[in-house]
Amino acid sequence: MAAIEYSTRIGDAEMHITPAAQSQFVEILASADDEIAGIRVFVSGGGCSGMAYGMTYADATVDKDYDSVLEGPGFKIYVDPVALNYLQGCEIDFRDSDFVFNKVFQAVGGSGTCGGCGGGGF
């Protein structure tokens, strides 16, 4: 059986980075240590308060077979496959000192205060 090809390249249709966000990524990476490979975009939460979207540095240990990458002028964005599912079709912008995630999956309703979805503290 032929091996299935799995593309780890993120296209513009999957994730669009606005020029303002691109400039910000370049600026952030310019001040990073040499061991930093790019920016990791991640998704967390998923309880009644909805998904939370964030970014941190991706260091040189990024998994090139597992992580998908979006390469722009002067920056690289890494996303793991699970997070990418929630980010399909999103746009990352930078406005008023905040990174803004447009067109992302959001939970509807919920108080955001329940403990029902907690995984426990130990």
């Binding site: 952030i28 967390s44 909805g50 998904m51 939370a52 979207y53 964030g54 970014m55 941190t56 540095y57 260091d59 990352i92 905040d98 990174f99 803004v100 995630f101 447009n102 067109k103 992302v104 959001q106 955001g112 205060t113 329940c114 403990g115 029902g116 979805c117 907690g118 995984g119 426990g120 503290g121 130990f122």
Partner: protein, 434 residues
């Protein structure tokens, strides 16, 4: 205080003890530090503990297979507990954390088990109400003011004396506690606490809309663990906090035992805490007190109707031979273990979170564990998780435990071990989703 008058403590005789089930209901939030130590204590002592929580879908079996409640609906939760008690009786109902102590009191009352009045437990949980009650009872309290966040600050802050400390009225572990030395700092602190209160998941509107402001009390700070039986307080241990806690935030760090306070000061401490318990109406079970001591005497910062958090209960093995959670469970059953005090000192460092961000790794853990007298280094936050320092944060990075021939050596070992650690934190940029 009708509830206080109605509160009863069931006398536990040898006959009832032998006939009673050794089954305890523990009401615990899904993210409580205390649940694991309580379950370990129950296993050690052969006690059947059922966890009641809101964590119906938890991956942790003790929660998922336990009793499921809605803490926002005490009456429905009470009925759930009563149904379970009818199916298989409980000998006691306990609340591990502030969120569950009132429901525990309510349930124990309904089941005719030893309990605190719900009014007393509420006073112990609400810092503003506690201050008023202590003042009424003649227990020394600093000047204090209550800010109503639904009204403009102007007109509410004119009389405030500086330096002062601002506190959310229903959060624990120094969360949201900020010192202010002038009006500008106070205004800034109010705005910061307001954001925290909006996100803290507090159910009662008044708890989200009120800040307690009190005059800063300089002095040496201690934490005290005790057990109440029919209103009589037994001190289990006094923890010294050797580092000055002068703000602007009040992060817990070193807890060292036995206390190096002299006997008259320890006696005064015990008397003041007893007076506070009596003022609230607390009569049964564990108390955790935080106090400051200066030339004017002992000042109550808080007396909570629960145990200490942060895995610290294990330190009581030094002073009693049992963990704090074992003592509390056995006390709830009307049993008393033999108290075997070990010579020497012990201590814990609640490892401070050095900066906000994503935890990349903690280096030097093995070196820290090799420091003489260090028993264990526990890194509580997993790699890749967010670190939130005080005053917004609600948890510690981890804990270092030490046991040594003396309290001084325990403290020195903790400081040496902490110096071995290097916490590598990545920046975090939070996205705003639209």
């Amino acid at each position: 205080m009708a509830d206080a008058a109605a509160a009863v403590s069931r006398p536990v005789t040898a006959a009832t003890r032998n006939a009673a089930p050794r089954r305890i209901l523990l009401i615990a939030p899904h993210d409580s530090y205390r649940t694991a130590p309580f379950l370990a204590a129950a296993k050690t002592r052969g006690i059947d503990v059922l966890i009641a929580s809101e964590a119906k879908h938890s991956l942790v079996s003790a929660y998922a297979q336990g009793l499921h409640l809605d803490l926002g609906n005490p009456q429905a939760s009470l009925q759930t507990i009563l149904r379970e008690a009818k199916r298989q009786p409980f000998a006691a109902v306990l609340g591990s954390d502030d969120a569950g102590t009132e429901l525990a009191a309510l349930a124990a009352n309904a089941l005719g088990l030893p309990h605190n009045p719900t009014v007393a437990v509420r006073l112990a949980r609400r810092k503003d109400l506690a201050r008023e009650r202590l003042a009424q009872a003649g227990v020394p309290v600093p000047h204090h003011w209550r800010l109503d966040l639904t009204h403009p600050l102007a007109g509410q802050i004119d009389d405030i004396r500086f330096p002062c400390v601002l506190k959310p009225v229903a959060l624990a572990a120094s969360r949201g506690v900020i010192r202010a030395d002038n009006i500008d700092e106070l205004t800034h602190a109010v705005a910061r606490i307001q954001v925290l209160l909006a996100r803290a998941g507090l159910r009662e509107a008044q708890e989200r809309e009120t800040i307690l402001v009190e005059e800063f009390i300089p002095g040496f700070e201690v934490a005290v663990e005790g057990l109440l039986t029919h209103g009589r307080l037994e001190i289990l241990t006094i923890f010294d906090k050797p580092d000055p806690l002068d703000g602007p935030y009040f992060e817990e760090t070193y807890y060292i035992m036995p206390s190096r306070l002299d006997a008259p000061t320890q006696q005064a401490l015990c008397e003041t805490i007893s007076a506070a318990c009596a003022a609230y109406g607390l009569r049964e079970g564990p108390i955790h007190a935080e106090c400051r001591i200066n030339e004017h005497g002992v000042w109550i910062l808080e007396v909570a109707a629960r145990t200490i958090g942060g895995l610290c209960g294990r330190l009581l093995r030094s002073s009693t031979g049992s963990s704090l959670e074992e003592l509390v469970l056995m006390h709830a059953l009307g049993e008393r273990p033999e108290l075997n005090s070990e010579a020497g000192g012990a201590g814990v460092l609640m490892i401070p979170i050095p900066q906000a961000g994503i935890l990349r790794r903690v280096e030097g853990v093995l070196a820290a564990e090799k420091v003489p007298y260090i028993e264990e280094v526990v890194i509580y936050v997993r790699e890749g998780y967010e670190l939130v320092p005080l005053p917004e944060g609600a948890s510690y990075l981890g804990f270092i435990f030490a046991r040594a021939p003396s309290a001084v050596q325990s403290e020195a070992a903790l400081r040496a071990a902490h110096a071995c650690l290097r916490v590598v934190v990545m920046p975090l940029w939070k996205g705003v989703s639209v």
